[in-house]
């Protein structure tokens, strides 16, 4: 998936799922669709993206951040987890995974889970392994289903360069808004 590994500054910058808490309404649709495109049934306990609601107003969802030298990979005693160098995605070898959950304990973001039936580790693979039946025919290739269905368009695929750039633009608008107003006039 060349889309998710962008060549920049002579290296590879990984894209991952990020969710804007200002847009997220906490509707859990991302979780339901995640389990559905991978397993063919709706079951948020088998999701790879996790909605968190802290009442009354905070809503957001978290998925794999594709850390460099990922702690989950290092923690796995069975060496069942491997990071794809090109995409940054963590790939779980189901034959090796024994469901010990050390990866879950190692992750700083709590974005891994165990499949309720198979007891194998679950982690966001940007839908690379989604069932073929659910691939959008117009797109013709796998694409993160949570992004496709999020009604608030709160979920996106970004790399750290893009995130930094957006933050900078926001900061500049805040800091130098007066100048912008002049140009609008």
């Amino acid at each position: 998936m060349s889309k998710v590994g962008t060549k920049k500054r002579g290296g590879v910058v990984h894209q991952f799922i990020i969710v804007d808490p200002n847009l997220c309404s906490g509707c859990e649709t991302c979780e339901s669709v995640c389990s559905f495109v991978h397993d063919g049934e709706f079951n948020p306990i088998n999701t790879r993206i996790h909605r968190v609601r802290i009442e009354p107003i905070l809503n957001v969802a978290l998925a794999c951040q594709k850390c460099d030298d990922a702690p989950c990979v290092r923690a796995c005693p069975e060496k069942a987890l491997e990071q794809n160098k090109e995409t940054g995605s963590i790939i779980v070898d189901d034959d090796k995974c024994n469901g010990c959950a050390f990866c879950i304990r190692a992750c700083d973001f709590g974005v891994l889970g165990l499949h309720i039936q198979s007891q194998k580790a679950l982690i966001c693979d940007l839908c690379e392994t989604m069932k073929e039946d659910y691939i959008d025919p117009e797109r013709g290739e796998p694409y993160p289903a949570c992004i496709d269905v999020c009604p608030k368009e709160a979920i996106s695929l970004k790399d750290v360069e893009q995130i930094g750039e957006e933050k900078r633009i926001d900061a500049v608008k805040r800091l130098f808004g007066e100048i912008l107003k002049e140009t609008e006039g």
Binding site: G26, C27, E28, T29, S32, D39, N43, N59, D133, Y134
Partner: protein
Amino acid sequence: MSKTKEIPVPDKILGFTQVRLDVDLTDGKISKSKLSNEFCRDWIGGYGFGAKVLWDECPAGVDPLSPENVFVYAHGPFPGTILPTSSKYGVFAKSPLTGQFGMAISSGSVGAQARRAGINMIVFKGKAPEPVYMVVDDDDYYLFPCKDSVWGKSCWETEEILREEFQDQRLGIMTIGPGGERMSRMGCITNDRNRQAGRTGMGAVMGSKNLKAVCFRGTKGISVAQPVEFFKLAKKLIKVANGPATAKYRDLGTPAGITSYNKLGMMPIFNHREGTWDKIDDGTFTGDILNQDWVIKKVACSQCSIGCDHITKVPKDHPNWPNLYSSIDQELCYSFGTACGNYDWPSVFKCVSLTDDLGIDAISGGATAAMACECFEEGIITKEDLGYELPFGSTVNLVRFTEEMILGKGFAGKIFGDGTREAGKRLEEMGRKNASYYAMHVKGLELPAFDVHGMSSFAVGMSVSIRGACHLRNGAYGLDAKGKFDRFGYDKPVERGKAIKDLEDIYAIIDSYIVCKFTRGIYENDAEMAKVFELVTGIPVTDKFIQHRGEAILNLSKCFNIREGWTRDDDKPPERFFKQPHTRGPAKGIVLKEEGYQKVLSGYFEARGWDTKTGIPTDETLKSLGLDFVIGKLSPAGGKK
């Protein structure tokens, strides 16, 4: 059932779990049985299941607060799927507020959790010897004593304690508060903090059974009959549900209606004395201001694309209610706002959060407070009675009144703690003449946020509603607001009746599916609504079939009401609308006309195939709807209680 037989039911159906639990609270026994494929096809889900069970199993003439009343939890085939707004559940019982068919619907996470736990319906009977909560944890079902833990606690605290207890922040919990525990006839059920099964006193029924809460947790996956096709249609519906069809619910939210209904003279002001208000005209109390100054976040229920829950915050430097968060919509801007002549936003928010947290219906609660304000202004109740003054426009005192009303404390609680109809009766028993005139209810249920002086179609639509004054049984206010018929006149009575009937039948399906009425505009037509049922369940229903079943469900709950003593006179708006016109605005000088009203009511009965004089369904109509089992059983038993 002639029409139903035309729809073949496959050997295996999906969507429904078909699991019915029977809980005998008296002896603590829980048993499990299977809902037949035909039952699911014919009764569709929530409302349909509730109507059938109450007809079959609720003893006629029962005291709604006695152990003999039957309390039903039910959902349809959709919770847990990504069909927009599908995580909904319904509760049904004979209502202690109306003495008629009681029903209330809520959203949040409960429907989805219950569906994943694998149940479809729970029927509660009897009364637990001590307070309990019920747990449905996948296939583990049990009752747990709670006299020393959550009994007596508010709804929000109960949710927090139970989620902590189960170490699960996503436990789905429907709970009652002190309002329901003391069996206030307005008692509601709260879940997910801001969602309520509010109307007709279903929380009081739980309280009467010593049932504090029901907790749901499920880990089972949900398969649908035609996954590829369903996924395609659901994705389309999610997009549409976040498009123009629902913009009004997402943006300003329903409070946008404050301004538009004020313009039409349909916004209830001062307990329905007026239909317009200078505080709305001058922009003090509008949806725009609410959003601009107070709303800080919009939140969604599970699987909802819209996200209509407008959360407001009172700033930390407010003298009375700093850092108060509450969940607001049009109905509550009416009940504790315009109806009480109150344009002080923080006190509206405080009253709403008290009703949600302590557990009574915020519409009935506010409408009852509005009655008290007017009784105070008319000298029917006094400062000596209450201990404080309560004119229209009260703020701090309105909050004080509201808390006492919910908790049953003081004069406010004793007189007004069970809604407007009871308050009227109690005051008149004390010799306070004419108090019932100020009780704005139909069949005992307080009015929603519409003033019907100049709404000749909705006056009928609201009044024929099975559960009492309600805007959600047929939405006929649209007929007046959109000018489909002359809203000051009474022509075309049968056409009006037919329009109300058609809306009501499809609303009965929406309440059985159960999905949110805010998504009624996302389907291209009834055929697409039928399609989504087929894709999930595998039962090949058609638009004609679901319309027919909607009609049958409505008729069956109507028959329940007749058996409980309903008569034509019960389908009537409060006297005020016939006697006392507005003094300003577009409906100035207008009152409902008795003869015209009765003509449209008869038109509705005719459109329904009911006896145009008595309003009782004819045998022919019942037969055509497959309701033969009702024939001969329609005599009132025991009267209204």
